[in-house]
């Protein structure tokens, strides 16, 4: 069964025809070629497929593409505006919060959402906020550092 859907992705409006059983993850990767969105576990454990759905982080592997009709999606590609990386993207690079990089876009999205609802998180709050994002390189210490630094930059409104 096919559905015609209208959705906004990274600020652009798309009209797509999607299969009922295709997940938002599949649509974003295969129809819109937004390959920052990664397929890790397909069951909502690893967070590699995290995107913002109407501003809230969700596991796109557990959302149907047809559900996104009329909604707004943001992926890691959408956080970079005119070539300017978002603070969390820049600090992940600067502080070595990325190793193999597979989990990175999901962690960037989850962290971005965490800092929107809590601009000054404690280390405990950062770790709880990222409990749904697994890094198999186990580089958590530097990921936490990167989130803390992004929070500091955003609070002091410094440019990088």
């Amino acid at each position: 069964m096919k559905h015609d859907i209208n959705l906004t992705v990274n600020g652009e409006l798309y009209n797509l025809t999607v299969e009922s059983h295709h997940t938002l993850l599949t649509i974003l990767r295969e129809q819109l070629v937004l390959t920052s969105v990664k397929n890790g576990c397909s069951e909502g454990e690893c967070g590699a497929c995290t995107v913002l759905f109407d501003g809230k982080p969700v596991n796109s592997c557990l959302v149907l593409g047809a559900e996104a009709d009329g909604h707004e999606i943001v992926t890691a590609e959408g956080l970079t505006i005119n070539g300017q990386l978002a603070p969390i993207q820049q600090t992940m690079i600067d502080l070595g919060g990325t190793q193999c990089g597979y989990c990175t876009p999901g962690i960037v999205m989850a962290s971005f959402a965490l800092l929107e609802r809590n601009p000054n998180p404690t280390e405990q709050e950062i770790r709880e906020g990222l409990v749904g994002n697994l890094c198999r390189c186990t580089g958590y210490t530097r990921i936490v550092d990167a989130v803390r630094e992004a929070a500091r930059l955003q609070r002091t409104d410094m440019t990088l």
């Binding site: 299969e19 009922s20 059983h21 397909s42 909502g44 982080p57 596991n59 557990l62 959302v63 709880e128």
Partner: protein, 289 residues
């Protein structure tokens, strides 16, 4: 993933008709955080998904005229956690819902789905049962209600009959001065499924010899979440350290856990004793009477 159809139902009648017409091959679809995984793994083969999230009232939390709180079946865990009335009147429920999985998952997982999947480890259930919450069910014969305690019938089995749909959960006003505590043991500190959990609710009661009445509900140690009535009775009589230990042992005696990949039955039973004691001690320290 195997193919299926997907329909967004606009009215309760349309949803019921779609679910009935497919004779069990259609599934109600809300957060899908369990459903899609079971399909992906090949455990379920539904022909049609009926999305019930947009049905009137399904995403709403409303204070009712009789002072009960009505939570629509498709309200997400995060929406429950941050709701003002839940935070102020039913903090035990907020604590339980917050303990589920990750923030991303809680933006999708719904309180109705948590109940309808009827996992013994459903984290919202012990809190709802402590408060005496009721499940509101729509079916071909109209509306009926059962307690959340009775809604759970067995592992994955609920009181819902064919053609019926959970529309909301309604929670009576909490007892005056009630204090609750939800404690959960997982393999990790945060985010894991419960190896076992316990919800404790205590409130001042001058008719109780100890000065307080209690509800103790255990999760993941029986086919359904279960109350520990003997522990509740002992605490109404005596909340001295010896009384608490006796109640904690009674709670452990109530548990009927199994050995599985997450823990042995023996370990779960002993953790019921430990976590019940801790929960009661915590509540007792905050109770004013």
């Amino acid at each position: 993933m195997q193919a299926f159809d997907y329909v967004k139902a606009k009215t309760l009648e349309e949803a019921s008709a779609l679910l009935a017409e497919h004779n069990g091959d259609a599934r109600p679809f809300a957060g899908a955080t369990d459903l899609l995984i079971r399909i992906e793994r090949g455990f379920l083969h539904p022909a049609k998904m009926v999305d019930i999230k947009n049905l009137p009232g399904f995403r709403a939390i409303n204070a009712l005229d009789n002072d009960w709180l009505r939570i629509g079946a498709a309200v997400t865990m995060n929406e429950v956690v941050i709701h003002r009335d839940v935070e102020s009147r039913y903090p035990l429920l907020a604590e339980a819902c917050q303990s589920v999985a990750s923030y991303q998952l809680r933006n999708r997982a719904t309180i109705g789905g948590n109940i309808c999947n009827a996992s013994p480890a459903a984290d919202s259930a012990p809190a709802l049962i402590c408060y005496g919450a009721e499940a509101i069910i729509h079916g071909p014969q109209g509306e009926r209600r059962v307690t959340v305690e009775d809604f759970f019938q067995g592992v994955g089995q609920t009181a819902l009959e064919r053609g019926e749909l959970l529309t909301a959960i309604e929670i009576p006003p909490p007892p005056d001065g009630a204090v609750g505590r939800f404690l959960k043991l997982g393999r990790t500190t945060v985010g894991d499924i419960s190896v076992m959990n316990v919800a404790v609710l205590g409130w001042p009661d001058e008719n109780a010899a100890s000065g307080a009445s209690w509800r103790i509900v255990l999760g993941s140690v029986a086919p359904t979440p279960i109350r520990a009535p003997q522990a509740e009775k002992l605490l109404a009589g005596d909340t001295s350290p010896a009384g608490i230990e006796a109640a904690a042992r009674a709670a452990a005696d109530t548990a009927r856990p199994i050995d599985d990949i997450r823990a042995s039955a023996a370990y779960r039973t002993d953790m019921v004793r430990v976590y019940t004691r801790r929960g009661v001690e915590h509540v007792l320290a905050e109770l004013n009477y």
